[in-house]
């Protein structure tokens, strides 16, 4: 407990930083759930592709540990765009091949979960086997830097510049933490406003509320589902860049654990609810840190899940248990 008191601000701020990554990924789960009432199990892989897009973009732009601060910031901006595009694209592919055929046939909900599990395996294994795949098309020499040792951990090739800003209590806030938290909040705010104010956002809310009436009112539900996946993918791409700024390394199966955490965050906040995802993510990130300070780092994940169970016991639909459709316009 003394440790928690001594490091209170440090734990809170690093928890918020990690939590905002959870929150961004959780948005993808929560939006798809709001519109389709399906757990998009493969969303974690969408995130994973974003992390690799970040690493590869840095390779492509020739990043090295010696890159100057300005160059790194420029690179990160490019990475953000590329990762959002890649993740959004993967999410669209996912919708087209894993979900749309099933939605068309009105398959039972559980089978969509199986299809998503299959898609998740396919996506992560494709990444894990990219060396073999490149060999199959004869590109392994040209792409050797990108595809060798496909199953190993990959780190970003640059040093993220970090400057200490000011102290709060025991902790000196640095630029990295601030960047991650602020960037995540801005993304969430943009998405929230988009869903609330834009015409397309209204379509999403309409389908989430009542798909049949929405269809009768002329909302193209296929388009809406596509848009939902695309937005979720874009958010996951942004989360991937922030994750790489903070953690710095990824692997072909890195999505899995983070996906589970993000999904937990989405459920904790009330699945189908955008603000709930934000709250859930932040609560989860901070609670994990406090928990590991109190009982030990190795119990971090246990704390997260116990917290989830306790919250669901008292609020069976999550903290803000309100659906995407019911968000006030």
């Amino acid at each position: 407990v003394q440790f928690l008191i001594d490091h209170f601000f440090e734990l809170t701020i690093t928890g918020l930083a990690l939590g905002s990554v959870y929150a961004l990924v959780a948005l993808g789960y929560t939006m798809v759930y709001g519109v389709l009432q399906l757990i998009n199990f493969a969303h974690s892989e969408v995130f994973m592709y974003g992390t690799f897009a970040t690493v590869w973009t840095m390779y492509f732009l020739g990043g090295t540990p010696a890159s100057s601060t300005g160059a790194v910031i420029g690179m990160l901006a490019v990475c953000l765009v590329v990762a959002m595009a890649v993740s959004g694209g993967i999410a669209l592919l996912l919708e087209k091949f894993a979900y749309r055929p099933l939605i068309k046939r009105r398959a039972p909900k559980l089978i969509a979960l199986i299809s998503a599990i299959g898609a998740s395996f396919v996506l992560s294994e494709t990444m894990g086997l990219r060396g073999e795949l490149a060999k199959a098309v004869g590109l392994e020499d040209n792409l050797s830097r990108y595809v060798t040792k496909a199953r190993d951990t990959r780190s970003i090739p640059v040093n993220i510049p970090r400057k200490d800003l000011f102290s709060i209590g025991d902790y000196t806030l640095n630029t990295t933490d601030l960047l991650v938290i602020v960037a995540a909040l801005v993304m969430m705010l943009l998405l929230d406003q988009f869903i609330r104010r834009s015409r397309l956002g209204r379509g999403i809310r309409a389908v989430a509320q009542d798909p049949e009436s929405a269809a009768l009112m002329g909302v193209n539900s296929t388009r809406v589902v596509q848009l939902t996946f695309l937005l979720g993918g874009i958010m996951a791409g942004a989360a991937a860049v922030l994750y790489m700024i903070r953690i710095g390394a990824t692997r072909f199966d890195a999505g899995f654990i983070l996906g589970v955490k993000a999904f937990t965050a989405a459920v904790m906040g009330g699945i189908g609810n955008l603000r709930g995802a934000l709250l859930g993510g932040l609560v989860l990130g901070v609670a994990e840190n406090y928990g590991s300070a109190l009982i030990g780092t190795e119990w971090k994940d246990v704390v997260a899940f116990v917290l989830l169970v306790v919250i669901l016991l008292f609020r069976p639909t999550g903290l803000l248990g309100e659906s995407l459709g019911k968000a006030r316009a």
Binding site: I39, L102, L110, G118, A119, T126, F256, T264, V306, L308
Partner: protein, 419 residues
């Protein structure tokens, strides 16, 4: 898809379903001898060493044992997911509880003989099922899925972190079933009471191979066939119990709860109690298979109880056809056997498995062998849809009319011999 094509596809699936019904009806009087024959075949399977079925890269007895544990798990999970309709993504937790109970009791913490630990393991697993279920079963639908997922992870992480449970290294030297052996030398069975030879297909025709034999009921490390026989026996017992329960009041209560919880509650079914019972039953079977696994493996570690396995178990149930006990057996065989059979393609097998799941989801959304009730319900749904769209002008010759009991509900379904 054009309307005519979809209509043709529908009538084709209806015809297939009708044919399946006809086959099932004709086989009905012979179902006991058929079941016995099937059981005999599966007992003999490891001895036959059939050329295509046997795994070239791994010990076939071991593979059969793995498949058998998956079948057992799928049967248990089918009670929870298929009968009661509760999505459990943490089923591996019960499997772990069973395995760890055996491991703890047979090693330094207890030295209890293996066979005694099985009932204890099962009871502990059931208790953990009730402990998990009592608070969480009030949560509905997908929330339940994530809560159970969390529970599975909590169990695994607890095992990783508690030194008393061996930590990340796990517990080794877990005892297995006792041997029936005539002469034991240096802890190995040298001479058994009886030995059965395997077959050899090297020449293209089956020959009895006297050099390769299985000692009857020697639970050693080299020959895993006796473990498979043990597991198979357990499966048969569970199958019989499963049938009795499904056909009883309890089974009907589960079905009612699954189809419409509020309606069931209104009709006087105490849904919460029955859901809890389903959870406990599922945990019972899960713990049992965990106990079998620990006895055969000789050691348990948290690595054997990853979240991924929970997902594979659910995949086995759904791929096979949730709610049909033969379907989930097929599903478990697909999920457990195929990756072992194609171990030669080590690198690619997960990718192919993922693709297979996606293709299956599109083309067999009800599973490989759905329960007949599901098929009938689906047919009735299609009929209603056609009626609503006014396309029922010329019903096909084999299209069942609504008055033929397509909507008649589960009245005669209780007699369904196939589950």
């Amino acid at each position: 898809m054009s309307t005519s094509l979809s209509a043709r596809l529908q009538s084709r699936s209806q015809r297939l379903a009708g044919r399946r019904q006809a086959v099932a009806d004709r086989l009905r009087p012979y179902r006991v001898p058929l079941f016995v024959m099937l059981a005999v075949f599966f007992y003999a399977l490891p001895l036959l060493e059939l050329p295509v079925i046997s795994t070239p890269d791994v010990d076939f007895g071991g593979v059969l044992f793995i498949v058998a544990t998956y079948v057992l798990i799928a049967l248990g999970l089918n009670i929870v997911v298929g009968y009661a309709g509760l999505l459990d993504l943490g089923y591996v937790g019960f499997y772990a509880v069973g395995a760890y109970t055996v491991a703890v009791l047979t090693t330094e913490h207890g030295h209890v003989p293996y066979l005694w630990t099985i009932p204890i393991a099962v009871v502990v697993a059931m208790v953990s099922g009730v402990i998990l279920g009592a608070p969480t079963l009030r949560v509905r639908g997908d929330y339940l899925a994530i809560v159970t997922l969390g529970f599975g992870e909590i169990i695994r992480l607890t095992a990783v972190n508690l030194e008393w449970l061996g930590g990340a290294r796990g517990i080794s030297a877990v005892k297995g079933p006792p041997d029936f052996c005539k002469v034991v030398e240096a802890n190995r069975c040298v001479e058994a009471y009886a030995e059965v030879p395997h077959l050899n297909w090297d020449t293209g025709a089956p020959l009895v191979d006297i050099d390769k034999t299985t000692k009857l009921l020697d639970f050693g490390v080299l020959d895993l066939v006796p473990y498979y026989w043990f597991a198979l026996t357990v499966i048969i017992l569970i199958l019989l119990a499963d049938k009795r329960i499904k056909d009883s009041r309890v089974g009907r209560a589960w079905e009612a709860t699954r189809e419409d919880e509020d309606a069931a509650e209104l009709m006087g079914v105490p849904t919460f109690k029955f859901k809890l019972l389903a959870f406990a039953m599922g945990a019972f079977v899960g713990g049992l298979s965990g106990a079998l696994f620990a006895g055969k493996q000789g050691f348990v570690s948290p690595q054997s109880f990853l979240l991924l396995y929970s997902i594979l178990f659910v995949a086995a149930v759904v791929v096979g056809g949730q709610g049909n006990r033969w379907g989930v057996i097929v599903g478990a065989v697909v999920v457990a056997y195929l990756p072992e059979r194609f171990r030669g393609f080590q690198d690619w097998r997960v990718l192919v498995f993922g693709l297979a799941l996606m293709i299956l989801a599109v083309y067999r959304p009800q599973g490989l062998l759905p329960p007949r009730r599901t098929l009938r319900a689906k047919r009735a749904e299609q009929d209603i849809e056609l009626l609503e769209e006014g396309a029922l002008d010329q019903p096909g010759p084999d299209q069942p009319g609504l008055e033929q009991g397509a909507l008649g509900g589960p009245v005669d379904d209780e007699r369904d011999p196939r589950g």
